[in-house]
């Protein structure tokens, strides 16, 4: 199961990077969304995928689930949710004030 999840995370990363390299701003924002999904799945996978066991370590219990990756993912999801919504607004405002959403026209010159 870990193998499948790793491949899935890798695919998400590849797709995310591909979208980041596009010129249109909205595609780039979607790329960051995919990248963060990939990262979150990856953290989950790195903590070993166990089913049906409690997240508690006590004496005598040998079968348990690691709770730490889930705490990490939760933090990371909240952060990427906030940044994505901010980025969407920013992309819209950039489009409004610069009249374009193509990255190759958003270069600017030295003397402004």
């Amino acid at each position: 199961m870990e193998i499948v999840m790793s491949i899935l995370a890798g695919t998400l990363f590849a797709a995310g990077v591909y979208l980041l390299l596009q010129k249109q701003l909205i595609k780039i924002v979607l790329g960051t969304v995919l990248l963060s999904h990939g990262a979150h799945l990856f953290i989950l996978t790195m903590g070993k995928l166990n089913r049906g066991a409690p997240p508690i370590l006590e004496k005598g219990i040998t079968e348990y689930t690691d709770p730490l990756p889930q705490a990490l993912i939760l933090t990371s999801i909240v952060i990427s949710f906030g940044i994505t919504s901010f980025l969407l607004v920013l992309a819209y405002r950039t489009y409004q004030s610069n009249k374009t959403d193509m990255m190759d026209q958003l270069r600017g010159t030295d003397d402004e």
Binding site: L25, F42, M46, I79, G82, R93, N98
Partner: protein
Amino acid sequence: MMSNLVFLPIFIPLFVGALLVFLKNRHQLTIKISYLTVLLNLGLSIFLSYFVFTHHPLVLETGGWKAPFGIILVADKLSVIMTLSVNVIALASVIFASSSVTSKMTKHYFYPLFFILIAGVSGAFLTGDLFNLFVFFEVLLMASYGLIIIGGSKQQFRESVKYILLNLFSSILFVTTVAFLYSVTGTVNMAQLGERVAEVEQQGILTGIAILLFVVFATKGALFPLYFWLPKSYIVPSPVVSALFGALLTKVGVYSMLRVYTLIFSHKLELTHTFFIWVAAITMLIGVIGALSTSNVKLIIAYNIMPAIGFMLLGIGTFSAESLAGTIYYLIHDMAIKAALFFLAGLLVWHAGTSNLNKMGGYIKTSPLLGWMFFIAALILAGIPPFSGFIGKYLLLRGAFDEEHYFVAGIGLLSSLLILFSVIRIFIGAFWGELKEPKEKVRRSGLVASGLLIAISILLGVGAEWFYPYIQSAADNLIDPQIYIDFVLKE
């Protein structure tokens, strides 16, 4: 009981930041509260430094969870030095902001974002946990995303998109790297990481993770070849924001490297640290070439961030007690002088009404104080004795010569000369020659803020005898990670 104090340099600015959101229409009141807060915070961090240097480091185990299981905050010598420097910069920024930040900027939450930025930076310096380092990075980056677009001009939107995307990408890479490290070692606590990586003598996969983590910090700290987002995005916001970014943000990247590559990944020096030295050399060269290539005053100062980062990385790469002390010295010096130079460049641009050096001239007649302050700041930046830049560079270069990195040390010397040339060019172009009509008078509080920072830099240089033992003892604690590990894990 004492250890609870470690929490306050993060909590006070965070709390005040949240409070000031509700006072966005009360411009004068906001300024008063900001002054009180930064002074309180500065006093607190002075006390914290005093305590840590005279007694022992402090570890706060939040919620009573013992390290390495709970979240911990660690105030060791390096952390308190850095926290103290941040609060000095914060004080100078508030003085500068009191006249330059308009009530419209206050309405757009300048002060709340400013305090959250300070909380994030202090948190990054005080955390003892790699994942929380990521969280505090996000806190300070979120605040910086808000600060960089206050004003909402066309250029600001254009450049901040790039700034945010690059930083977002490196943050995602950071989380992924933490996940890698967790799966290999089973911990995110820095002390325990140091212990476990030492146990397995930093096998191949761990060195791979070390390099991946270096890419993350190199993006935050603007090292070659990941620097291209920095210069243009740092010049678009208001000068006080540029100063904060230039003084604090890249330095958090350097601090993280200083911590991670001395405490955790310090067992394959010939591979990782040799790599750092070469990256440092190229960064210095690219930085000064950038600074020489433009006649935009703010851009020259922004490009000068990079050679400084290169110098600090050279110290980390050389990895001796002396060169690490040099890195810490240079880090503090650079925080103060970069903030001062961004302030002065901002004042100059306002005074001249343009940022193009070719359209300036003769301002020594209209504002001699600004001119001479700029001149002294330029000398400090380039590392002319007896100022603080000299002490830092001397330690770094002596460390490099001792370890026989002659070529890189030569590049360092050459880049220092070119740094001096690039900033003196501003002085000659803007203050000598025929007087061009100035646009507005120089704001006095701006001069006070820069004067404060320049005075601190001079003190750091002239009084090196007093400060050096403290910095050397912080560096000695870095070179022997066992001190940190034993103290945090208390075995």
